[in-house]
């Protein structure tokens, strides 16, 4: 019993040590500051499918990171750097395009969908409730009397 507890402890320590030895994923390579990657993460890599400029190792993404690092060193703000790429590539380069024009409709469509769904549900519930009530009102007096008589006869 004692031995197995020790075994578990040693195994646990060993696993913990291994987890420490693993590099955490997506940490920037040492050549650029983490800030460069924070900005690059919001930018699309133009040649890759579904990768940001932070993750890709394509030449163009590497060059984009270099441009970001240079502009940061020149004291430009994050917004200015993003603008630099938008001026050359359009809003397409941003992973979160600004909410205006056609994009505004894309942003609003989930809300619109939810609203429509809610309205439909409300209409449906209102209709079923109304039907239940009319069904209740349609029961005639003598039928109710007959039912009550039936119920009182039972015991």
């Amino acid at each position: 019993m004692r031995g197995s507890r020790w075994l578990v402890l040693v195994l646990g320590l060993w696993l913990w040590a291994i987890s420490l030895a693993q590099p955490t994923p997506n940490t920037p390579p040492p050549d650029f500051s983490p800030r460069v990657f924070e900005i690059a993460r919001e930018l699309r890599c133009p040649v890759c499918q579904g990768e940001s400029a932070a993750e890709s190792n394509a030449g163009i993404a590497v060059e984009m990171r270099r441009i970001i690092a240079e502009q940061l060193a020149q004291g430009r703000s994050e917004a200015e750097i993003r603008q630099f790429f938008v001026e050359r590539y359009g809003d397409w380069i941003l992973y979160e395009p600004p909410a205006r024009g056609l994009t505004l409709w894309v942003w609003l469509s989930p809300l619109l969908g939810l609203g429509l769904l809610g309205y439909g549900l409300w209409r449906y519930l209102a209709r079923t409730r109304a039907r239940a009530q009319t069904a209740m009102a349609e029961v005639s007096e003598e039928e109710i009397a007959r039912l009550e008589a039936e119920l009182s006869r039972k015991p």
Binding site: P46, G59, I60, E63, M64, I67, E87, R88, G90
Partner: protein, 166 residues
């Protein structure tokens, strides 16, 4: 359902992705000057680029030696260069490449239209390029008329040429 159908139809009607509209269309082409690859220095000088006073429309072709479609495009561009060099400047920009590889490519296809060397592809980013090959059509006044992403066919090249020589 109708909405979905409409969306699908709209998606199908969208222009060819190869003719991705550039933000630059209708705007002045970013000017630059870069060192020419060695074989062109004797004729064109040490540097070349898009700048004022060229007096000619420019077909700016971004290429790399490792790019497969560039290999079929290069002979076509060369042919057009020989035919129209007095009227239009076909200027290559070699990006994301090693200079020695670029020189090998130029020699292999016997390219006589000038190419500048932009190892890191910075000018490409300045123009908002997606990849190689990519061609920017610039008119006589230095305004970008079109961008063509991907390989050019002869008919497309002819079309751009007509557009630019009007």
């Amino acid at each position: 359902m109708l909405l979905l159908g409409g969306l699908f139809y709209w998606g199908m009607q969208r222009p060819n992705p190869n003719e991705l509209k550039s933000v630059l269309v209708g705007k002045p082409a970013p000017s630059f000057s870069l060192p020419l690859l060695e074989p062109y220095r004797a004729r064109y000088g040490p540097e070349m680029g898009v700048k004022e006073g060229l007096g000619k429309p420019v077909l700016l072709n971004i290429w790399a030696s490792w790019c497969i479609p560039c290999r079929t495009e290069a002979p076509l561009l060369e042919r057009f260069h020989r035919q129209y060099q007095d009227q239009v400047l076909i200027l290559g920009v070699n990006v994301q490449d090693r200079e020695s590889e670029a020189l090998k490519f130029v020699r292999q296809y016997g390219l006589t239209f000038p190419s500048v060397y932009d190892g890191r592809g910075r000018i490409g980013i300045e123009y908002g390029y997606y990849g190689v090959p990519e061609t920017f059509v610039i008119d006589r006044n230095g305004t970008v008329l079109a961008r063509h992403a991907g390989e050019l066919s002869e008919a497309q090249l002819q079309g751009y040429l007509r557009q630019v020589l009007q």
